[in-house]
């Protein structure tokens, strides 16, 4: 049975700039998301949007200090959390929602999936959730073949974990000892269904990985430092050639599955408790202040900088033109 990952963490052991970077990344992710929702409400962005608010710690913690540009990620369809943490310019992500040529797809639009930034190791994403489980073993295999120390991190939800592909993926990864890190963002729901309604598990989703002999654990995904530590260990294991790790990171959606979802299938009290007591940003800010690493004012200033950065990104994305009609005939073949 999957064990819960714990570690004595002393905030003071981290350089201040690292801690502030975690904070800034999380705040940027949230503000990006809030502003995107505004753009939707203003009718400027269409399609599905699955807000990532509430799980910023998971992405910031796993990516920021652990991965380099040459490491690959397959993000999931919730928020743009992982893309932002991996450094994809905000204007480009907004461009992908607005459909302007500023987007990574140069005007095709990408919505919540299909942004890509290969130079930063962001290899894109499928519209069929969970398909990244298959691709990730291929990318990791490429690194193994080239004998680099690149790692591949694949994000997917609890719901996506029920896709048949998980089996093929875990088997390849374990068999060929591939440098893949599985991060299952378990927010307990797949659209309207609670994990308990759709998953047959011993106790945790991570238990599914156990039979493959793949090291696995469950972790509080809303604790940015814990996420950093657990992924750090997995990255080291991968780089030592010891193969994959499966991490089930627990979190919760603050908003409905997609913008427009009535979100009436969730116990309001449960939701409120998550918001009140387990917000990754609020909690981390409180810790930074209580441990006297940063004053409130410093954090406020950071927030202002981020607001500015986001406003500029949106402006830039909005200012770019829509593509010509002929855009759709470009780029099918290399």
């Amino acid at each position: 049975m999957a064990e819960t990952y714990t570690k004595e963490i002393n905030v003071k052991d981290y350089p201040k700039e690292v801690l502030l970077d975690f904070y800034k990344t999380m705040a940027k992710i949230r503000k990006f998301d809030e502003n995107l929702i505004k753009l939707m409400q203003d009718g400027k962005v269409s399609g599905f949007y699955h807000s990532g608010i509430g799980s910023e710690g998971l992405s910031a913690g796993s990516i920021r200090q652990n991965l380099r540009d040459e490491d690959y990620i397959y993000y999931n369809h919730r928020g743009c959390n992982q893309k932002i943490a991996k450094g994809v310019p905000l204007s480009k992500i907004y461009g992908d929602f607005l459909g302007t040529v500023e987007g990574t797809t140069k005007g095709l639009g990408a919505g919540i999936v299909h942004s890509a930034d290969p130079a930063r190791g962001v290899l894109g994403q499928a519209g069929t959730i969970g398909s990244q489980l298959g691709l990730s073993v291929g990318s990791a295999f490429a690194s193994k073949l080239k004998k680099t120390d690149q790692v591949t991190v694949v994000y997917f939800g609890d719901g996506a974990a029920s896709r048949e592909m998980l089996h093929g993926s875990l088997n390849w990864a374990g068999l060929y000892k591939l440098p893949v890190i599985y991060i299952c963002e378990n927010n307990e729901y797949a659209i309207s269904c609670h994990v308990s309604e759709t998953h047959s598990i011993k106790e945790h989703i991570a238990d599914w990985a156990d039979g493959y002999g793949i090291p696995n654990c469950v972790v509080d995904g809303n604790d940015v430092l814990l996420m950093h530590e657990v992924v750090k260990e997995a990255v080291e294991r991968a780089k030592r050639g010891e193969g994959p790790t499966f991490i089930e990171a627990q979190t919760f959606r603050h908003r409905g599955h997609f913008e427009g979802d009535p979100y009436d299938y969730v116990d309001v009290e449960v939701l409120q408790t998550w918001k009140d007591t387990k917000d990754p940003i609020t909690n981390f800010a409180a810790k930074l202040m209580s441990e006297e690493i940063a004053k409130e004012e410093e954090l406020q200033n950071l927030n202002k900088e981020i607001d500015q950065e986001i406003a500029e990104a949106i402006d830039k994305a909005l200012a770019a033109p829509m593509p010509e009609a002929g855009r759709i005939y470009e780029g099918l073949y290399a």
Binding site: S46, G47, F48, D96, G99, T105, G107, L108, G109, A110, G111, V113, H114, A126, G127, T128, I129, G130, G159, A160, S162, R163, E164, A190, I191, S192, C193, E197, T198, H199, Y265, M322, P323, A325, R327, I328, Y329, L332
Partner: protein, 326 residues
Amino acid sequence: MRKLTMRNALIEALNEEMERDATTVLFGEDVGKFGGINAVTKGLQEKFGADRVFDTPIAEPTIVAAAVGMAITGNVRPIPELQFGDFVGIAFDEVFNKMGKWRFMHGGQMEMPVTLRLPIGIAGGAGPEHSQSPQALFMHGPGLQIVIPSTPYDAKGLLKTAIRDNNAVLFFEHKMLYDLKGEVPEEEYLIPFGKADVKREGSDVTIIATALQVHTALQAAEELEAQGVEVEVIDPRTLAPLDMETILASVRKTGRALIVHEEPKTGGSGAEIAAQIQEGALFDLAAPIKRIGSPDVPIAQSIYLEQFYVPNKEQIIQQVNELMEY
């Protein structure tokens, strides 16, 4: 007559058939508690219970395989849903080779009363993997009946027929039609498979269109009438079986044919229909059979670009005018 949206017509059909036959079961992702992301299964779980209307894990091959496994026991009549028709690619082997062929390849000893519902079509920036119209692929798959309604009336009557049918049915619902209203009688009715519907009569050009494009064609026909061109609009309603008789009769009359669908043009249902028209009525043709489909490129996510994919009235009018030049 009362008017219903296609969504409500479908809900009625499901309700009536599930009431009528206690062996029917309905399942898929979020179809129970949530009532389906397109709200087509709203209220069914409350009414028929969670045993007969249930939510499944996100596992499309298993959903379809389970439906096949239920059906061949002879004890259950499954009505599974794929949340987006695009996902039929994930369950392709189960649909194409198991649902379609299990009965035949085991000597005809079992029946396959499965109705698989598949929402399709470009609708609001859903992107390349949530906007496709994959129905043509299954014309190449023996053992699969393909239903693709364009009106609430047809949707209800065809869905009821599908559920009662003892053979596999793929039921494609264009998402842009869910809110379309149309007349639906209170009384029960069924619509047989393989019977095209002439949605509009005309003597100059035959348009064969499916799903949303039936409406675009009808709009174009109206404008063309003002120009003095009489367009006949035929909706095959089922692509398998395909009512070539009605289509050929019309083309023999008009001598001009245009096929319009949202599927990419190449390899679309229009290819087979065009091939059969020329086989059956070559010497009646005054002009080459034309086809309008979406471009042969993946569907961009941008809602702005979607307009360059969905066939539109202007394209139809232009093609008809070109046909009239012969």
